[in-house]
């Protein structure tokens, strides 16, 4: 049994893990004890990260839709067909009619290639890297680098931890573990969140509110709007770390919060630990192009790499249906791939090299431990070939060459903040504030997790959560299937009733439902 | 060393539909040596494989000495049982076993037998009934009570008629909800106790069925004066390996697949976790 050290492909922590390989197969995983992030631990996603590798439904061969059916073809034919399709769209419309969507699980090398394909090959800026960061155009540079940017080890050294958001143990377990252990050992912790989760218990103070941004904004505006219970420990502390998981608030609130955090971080002794959601979200953020509203009527073709936008919303699915040319590279036949004209098989994290940038900015190497199945290829190999065929010059053909190109790349300038008309943040139903668990929704739709045996077994249901008094008011009982209807759509989930959630708050995993929601029992 | 995880190839000889979602399969081993020497006792179970889909534990539904094959009665509930239902005579499945312990009935010789079955709990009891009827004279009075939700859910309709027609046992049936074909009693199976006179000191009671039914049956049996070790039932648990290794069916220190699935009420009461 050999061990190959690599990085977990799931959340932004970037835990070091060993793939256990025997006779050419990845038979398991174990944490790296000496790795500075994992330190011998892994969450459930990490421990099960090898289980999707040998699933029989892995895509193995390139396919093209001929007469309505996906048909196996050699790579060369698929690439030719693909390039022809894209060129045709470019001629009939413009390059801007072609969009590129890439997941936060792609490596830095793959993202760089996509960026070059977009700007030098197709001349389009209809690009979205890592849907989990959608809408986040501006992150203050101070949070990414420099004395105000916290790293994981700053948690131990702080005398005050302020945690904004719930569910860290689910979305960022490694960070939650550090925070928990620091609070166990006496560090003061303030949790500002709608739900009494794991970290709320050992915290010195839990401010249970629907939207943490409102409390934090109060802290900035001369402390006037801030409760004494928060103000006092804040002022008393000499070193503070503010922890905020990106994407845990609705978009507009998040943008306001980031602004508030910027002014708080200006105070002496204060650092901000921003948690990027996916394994390479930070890398994706760095590579991003400024992009207009995506998915508008001008979009005619789309290249999707390891993302599944058909699951985002009915509107998205509709848009994909209407495209003249859709190309997908992925590990499994996703809902998006089922609509595609070209489907290409992708290698998984365990089957390729490349780098991920974790939430702290630590660049870490993936090491291939096993061969991909069939004719599946790493994203970088396919994208390098595609780039060349689209006329992009000086594209490396090996991973080393690509990496070299990356170090030569200019730092991406941080685009100026877009000024937008403030959209009224609609509150939920007249008596319930709707708190969407956006990160929960992200994990629920994750393609790799949906094909991970233990994850599927343990996450058979989606849940909405509410207080017992609210459940009574709506006539709902624990365990019932509930239909949640909003302006943008509806979904089914099981009702979890607990007093972890404050009265008047409804937590749902559904990302895109903002505004008033209706609840009724589903039969 | 035998490989306890390797199934024996077994052919489906016959399929009989019992209800809308339940079928009985007659299985015969491919290997003639195994076919000849395979033995089991009522209460035991086999692990049945539909290769490519998975494996499920199913209790024997036929009497122990039918030689040439055995029967299982299966309700379609999960992916494996649904796949099994799609198979036809001539198809092959895998069988491992027999596993588990048996209904104690040798020790009941000379005494009376009371059997209370509900719904899909009748199949393992049928194995017991066939075994007892093969030695009818060794036992005292035999009473069989069978309850289902509706008349459509009754399994073994021909056997039920045959048993009723024997004259040397008492068979009473009831349904929770009748229909226009049903002329028998309506009510839960415990309502049939009114028609039963059993001497608890010389009767062994065996009961199988949905957990809720078992709970009420045992309550009534205790009220009737049955001692805790004269009430025999089966415990259900998610089982995987069937041989006490994978850990899934463990309740307290017991493995349902090795120490059960047959337990007396006294043993069930003694378990540190609820059944």
């Amino acid at each position: 049994m050999q061990r190959v050290l690599t990085v977990c492909p799931h959340c932004g922590a970037g835990c070091g893990l060993y793939l256990l390989v025997d006779r050419g197969e990845a038979i398991g995983v174990m944490p790296s004890a000496g790795h500075p992030v994992s330190r011998g631990t892994l969450c459930m996603r990490g421990w099960t990260s090898f289980q999707h590798l040998r699933r029989p439904e892995r895509l193995e061969f390139p396919q093209i839709r001929l007469n309505g059916t996906l048909t196996r073809v050699p790579w060369d034919d698929a690439l030719t067909f693909l390039v022809e399709g894209l060129e045709r769209v470019r001629l009939e419309h413009t390059g801007g009619a072609i969009g590129l969507w890439a997941s936060g699980r792609l490596t830095n090398e793959e993202l760089l290639l996509l960026r070059r394909i977009a700007s030098e090959g197709l001349h389009t800026n209809a690009v979205r890297f890592d849907s989990s960061l959608h809408g986040v155009d501006r992150i203050p540079a101070a949070f990414l680098e420099g004395p105000k940017a916290a790293r994981l080890e700053d948690i131990q050294a702080a005398d005050l931890l302020v945690i904004l958001g719930h569910g860290l143990e689910e979305h960022h377990p490694q960070v939650a573990s550090r925070l928990l252990k620091a609070m166990d050992q006496g560090t003061r912790g303030i949790v500002i969140s709608p739900r009494r989760d794991l970290l709320a218990k050992p915290a010195t103070l839990h401010l249970q509110v629907a939207y943490p941004d409102e409390v934090v904004l109060g802290l900035t505006s001369g402390r006037a709007g801030s409760p004494e219970s928060l103000r006092r420990p804040w002022d008393d502390a000499k070193s503070r770390v503010l922890v905020y998981p990106l994407k845990s608030l609705p978009l507009l609130r998040e943008l306001h919060l980031l602004g508030a955090l910027e002014s708080l971080a200006a105070e002496d002794g204060t650092k901000v630990l921003l948690l990027f959601p996916r394994a390479n979200s930070r890398g994706a953020f760095r590579q991003r192009l400024e992009s207009p509203q995506l998915g508008g009527p001008e979009l005619q073709a789309l290249l999707v790499v390891e993302e599944d936008p058909a699951t985002w919303s009915p509107a998205c699915r509709q848009m994909l249906h209407g495209l003249g040319f859709l190309v997908v590279q992925d590990l499994f036949l996703t809902e998006t791939a089922e609509l595609a004209h070209v489907v290409l098989p992708s290698a998984s994290f365990a089957e390729k090299g490349g780098t991920f940038t974790n939430t702290e900015g630590r660049e870490q190497h993936l090491r291939p431990a096993v061969l991909p199945p069939g004719e599946a290829r790493p994203g970088w190999a396919f994208l390098a070939e595609l780039a060349r065929r689209l006329g992009v010059r000086n594209v490396g053909s090996t991973l080393e060459e690509l990496r070299h190109a990356m170090t030569l790349q200019q730092r991406t300038p941080v685009p100026a903040a877009r000024s937008e008309e403030p959209v009224a943040v609609a509150e939920g139903h007249s008596s319930l504030k709707h708190v969407p668990d956006r990160l929960g929704w992200m994990w629920l739709r994750d393609t790799v997790l949906r094909h991970t045996d233990d994850w599927q077994r343990e996450h058979q249901d989606q849940w909405i959560e509410m207080h017992p008094e609210d459940a009574k008011q709506f006539g709902l009982r624990p365990g019932w299937m509930v239909r949640v209807t909003g302006e943008d759509g509806e979904f089914l989930a099981r009702a979890r009733v607990s007093d972890r959630v404050a009265r008047g708050i409804l937590v749902t995993p559904y990302d895109l439902l903002e505004g008033p929601v209706q609840l009724e029992r589903a039969t | 060393m035998e490989n306890i995880y390797l199934p024996h190839l077994t052919q489906i000889a016959e399929v009989r539909r019992e209800t809308a979602d339940t079928q009985t399969f007659v299985l015969r081993f491919g290997d003639p040596e195994i076919r000849r020497s395979f033995r089991f006792t009522p209460g035991q179970f086999v692990e049945v494989s539909v290769f490519g889909v998975g494996e499920v534990p199913i209790g024997f539904a036929s009497g122990p000495s039918q030689g040439n094959g055995f029967e299982i009665t299966v309700k379609a509930m999960g992916s494996v049982t649904r796949a099994l239902h799609r198979l036809q005579p001539g198809n092959w499945v895998g069988v491992r076993g027999p596993f588990g312990n048996s209904f104690p009935y040798e020790e009941a010789k000379g005494q009376d037998i009371l059997i209370v079955g509900g719904g899909i709990g009748l199949p393992p009891l049928r194995s017991l009934i066939e075994a007892i009827l093969q030695q009818r004279d060794a036992f005292g009075a035999i009473t069989i009570l069978y309850g289902t939700r509706t008349p459509q859910d009754r399994v073994y309709k021909p056997e039920l008629d045959r048993w009723r027609g024997r004259g040397d046992l008492l068979l009473l049936e009831t349904v929770d909800v009748g229909d226009d074909t049903w002329t028998g009693p309506v009510g839960v199976v415990t309502t049939l106790f009114r028609q039963v006179t059993a001497d608890p000191s010389r009767t062994i009671a065996y009961t199988c069925g949905p957990p809720v039914m078992i709970k009420f049956v045992i309550q009534d049996l205790l009220k009737m004066g049955f001692a805790e070790d004269r009430i025999v039932s089966t415990l259900e648990r998610y089982m995987k390996c069937g041989v006490g290794k994978c850990g899934h069916c463990a309740i307290g220190p017991k493995y349902v697949c090795v120490d059960g699935p047959v337990f007396t009420y006294k043993q069930i009461k003694g378990l540190p976790e609820p059944p």
């Binding site: 459930m44 343990e458 | 995880y5 490519g52 899934h248 220190p253 090795v258």
Partner: protein
């Protein structure tokens, strides 16, 4: 000098003679020994040369039992079409485990007892039959997370505990105690590297043994924990408080030398051919007991969490296998993300009645006097 005259004798090998001895072993079998990974984790792995041997090794986070019961393994392949065939796969590779700890030997022997009981598990036992165990006693805890003495987990093995050879480190050399014919034949590969132990050697070992109590943590919290659990004397609120922290990562089970649970699945592309394989599983996951109907007899987190500890400290181990289900190897302490590992839980039981004070027990201040 034949094997039978060597068995039972206590001998000595110089430290620098160990690599040539290992090289002699490698001619016949794969030696899985301590080796420092260039990336930093100490581990036991198949040596490609005796020079890789790292005798300053502490312990491997992955217990050696996982070489005998791997995280996933194929039980058999099936092939349909014209006549269904089942093709089992057995792993008969010969392995010499060199430098495993006493706690690891106990884990392997416990698993042997478990897998032999009732229905022998041919997969595990085939690997075990082809495995030789050369253990390394611990004069001091290799890691601050070790707590084996209070769990009957080590740090030194007595004759008959299931090792083939036990090495005890002394100054510049190792004491070599052969405990089986297989062990004797390993020594016989390079008999010139060994000499008989003298009374001075044995005296040095005695001195080392007498210091063990001081060097290892002497808190006997395991036995108290066992009695609290067996007598059901832990209040439900304490179980709830502990279970709430658990995030179901599974690490404690995957890394435990005494954990053996697994689940079995089939995989097939086309329904005609495929494999049945088993993979590790653990009782803290909710789906462990969920039935096809959806009913789950243990559907509360608290019950799942409780089950693990009752199983290890009472049911399975005390009632069935005759010893506690923990050897104090400390792996769960390293891997638990929320400090509800075995030691933390046992410490919590000790504090019953007092306000809970979390924190790793091994971070406690050292004792000032013996």
């Amino acid at each position: 000098m034949d094997a039978s005259t060597i068995a039972g004798r206590v001998q000595v090998i110089q430290k620098d003679a160990v690599p040539p001895w290992v090289a002699a072993m490698m001619a016949q079998a794969s030696v899985i020994g301590p080796h420092q990974d260039p990336d930093g984790d100490p581990q036991l792995s198949s040596l490609s040369s005796a020079d890789e041997l790292d005798l300053a090794y502490t312990h491997d986070l992955l217990p050696p039992t996982r070489h005998l019961l791997p995280p996933t393994e194929v039980l058999f392949r099936f092939q349909g079409g014209d006549g269904l065939r089942l093709i089992p796969e057995y792993d008969e590779r010969r392995r010499i485990f060199f430098g495993i700890r006493s706690c690891d030997v106990k884990g392997i022997r416990y698993q042997e007892q478990f897998f032999r009981r009732d229905f022998p598990d041919i997969y595990f036992l085939t690997r075990l039959e082809n495995a030789t165990l050369v253990s390394l006693a611990c004069p001091a805890p290799p890691l601050p997370t070790c707590f084996c003495p209070c769990c009957d987990g080590g740090p030194v093995l007595k004759p008959g505990e299931g090792h083939d050879i036990q090495l005890t480190p002394l100054q510049g050399r190792y004491l070599v105690e052969v405990d089986s014919e297989t062990g004797a034949s390993l020594v016989a590969r390079a008999p010139e590297l060994f000499r008989d132990a003298t009374s001075a050697d044995l005296a040095e070992r005695e001195e080392m043994l007498s210091e063990i109590d001081q060097r290892f943590s002497t808190t006997a919290y395991l036995s108290r924990g066992i009695s609290k659990v067996t007598n059901d004397a832990v209040p439900e609120e304490v179980w709830e408080e502990l279970a709430e922290r658990c995030i179901h990562c599974g690490g404690c089970a995957y890394l435990c030398p005494f954990c053996t649970c697994f689940t079995v699945s089939d995989r097939s592309r086309d329904g005609q051919q495929g494999e049945r394989f088993r993979r590790w599983d653990h009782c803290i996951l909710a789906g462990f007991t969920r039935e096809a109907s959806g009913h789950n007899p243990r559907d509360r987190k608290c019950e799942q969490f409780k089950r693990r500890f009752f199983h290890k400290l009472s049911y399975q181990y005390m009632q069935r296998e005759g010893r506690p289900g923990c050897v104090g190897c400390g792996r769960c302490l390293t891997t638990c993300m929320t400090a509800v590992d075995m030691a933390a839980v046992l410490m919590r039981f000790r504090e019953l009645g007092r306000k809970p004070k979390w924190g790793p027990p091994w971070a406690a201040k050292p004792k000032t006097s013996p």
